[in-house]
Symmetry: C2
Subunit: 234 residues, 2 copies
């Protein structure tokens, strides 16, 4: 993976966004696993840029909490904070609910179309058993809903939470089973209907249940007892 991203024709100031987005994706997709050291010089070589714009991108990532800089020493990809997981679940659930409620209230026809596109993509990922695709299209689906809700503060926080969720899910994605995703498709469909009908109460309860599903799923992965040698005779 040492191919230098050779975009010789850097439009002035475009490089830093490229670096930012590239790294951001690689962090969320766990190509750069938590704890990975981030070497400025190395990135400088890779993107054929000076260290200055690289640094700028890193500062942005640090502001989002995606990387952690140990002053004067090193900067690493932030670890997933398992101790803070309850907080994460609480905030995630609240954002699921709030954004879906607002979508039911504020959506336009264009929003519905956008949501349907994402739902379709999610469905395809499910039929293809493309677990990675499922994780990211599920995120896009809910962000589309959030955007229909028209509240940038919620969109921003929700995006951060969902992306953090993507990191966690990728850690466990091997154990994805088949029945749950199918169920999600149905739940998504119901949510879309509730939004279209502007039924806030139903949108809320569906979002709440959906959040519980997902939180429960993550919880079960994390607490899964995989001590396969526990039962052996001693």
């Amino acid at each position: 993976m040492d191919e230098t991203e050779k975009l010789q024709t850097h439009r002035r100031g475009s490089g830093v966004s490229t670096v930012y987005e590239t790294l951001r994706n690689e962090i969320i997709e766990l190509k750069l696993p938590p704890g990975s050291p981030i070497d400025e010089q190395q990135l400088s070589d890779r993107f054929a840029l000076s260290r200055t714009p690289i640094r700028e991108a890193l500062v942005r990532l640090a502001a989002e909490g995606l990387i952690t800089t140990l002053t004067n020493r090193a900067t690493i990809v932030s670890n997933i904070d398992f101790l803070g997981l309850p907080e994460f679940f609480d905030a995630l659930t609240l954002m699921y609910r709030v954004t879906t409620r607002l979508a039911a209230t504020n959506h336009t026809e264009g929003d519905i179309a956008a949501i349907r596109v994402q739902q379709k993509a999610f469905e395809i990922a499910v039929t293809n058993r493309d677990v990675l695709g499922m994780i990211s299209t599920n995120r896009d689906f809910h962000i589309a809903i959030a955007q229909a809700g028209r509240n940038r503060y919620y969109v921003e926080l929700f995006t951060r939470l969902l992306d953090e969720g993507r990191r966690i899910l990728r850690l466990y994605y091997s154990s994805f089973n088949d029945v749950l995703p199918r169920q999600y498709v149905g739940e998504h469909e119901e949510m879309i209907q509730a939004i279209i009908n502007r039924d806030v109460a139903r949108a809320d309860s569906l979002a709440s249940a959906h959040a519980d599903q997902i939180v429960g799923q993550i919880r079960s992965y994390i607490t899964a007892d995989s001590r396969q040698t526990a039962g052996l005779a001693l």
Copy 2:
């Protein structure tokens, strides 16, 4: 105000935090009003630092939305988005409620002490009719509550919202009257009691009412009809 902040003994890497915090405060306190141009060279002179660390601080501020960079042209203090005010009020109210609820559930004795300190400071500002002090101690009071709730996501968002609120309030602070702040002191006191009693429902409804108060106050300032020449004979 052209006195150069002469901290000759910069501990390596401390300078950028100083710049960040100083500018952040000046923006929130409207010493740098919305739309003010931010000149890197000028800041470089003022803080006796090279443009590089200045730039780093600016990137951080931009990530928080406090400044806006027009690419290749200029960077200015972000304008207050009056069109987005409904979103702001909605998010603010939600955060008031959520953080107060969580505080009722999760607080420790130390948290209560910290909250009381801020409440006292707010009271003093009220008795002194120190409007600017009221605005900032009120913020600190609610952040203390949020911290007692132990959810960093909410603390972060709430802090951003309250700081944005400080900017808005400062725009209108001249019209602060006397009765409202006194009322706030009482409401704060009730909130503390509800938190101590771990009465989530009451904490919620108090927070909700308190939020409505403040939102209503801001709204009334903004929509206040101050066309003093409207009635003149023509």
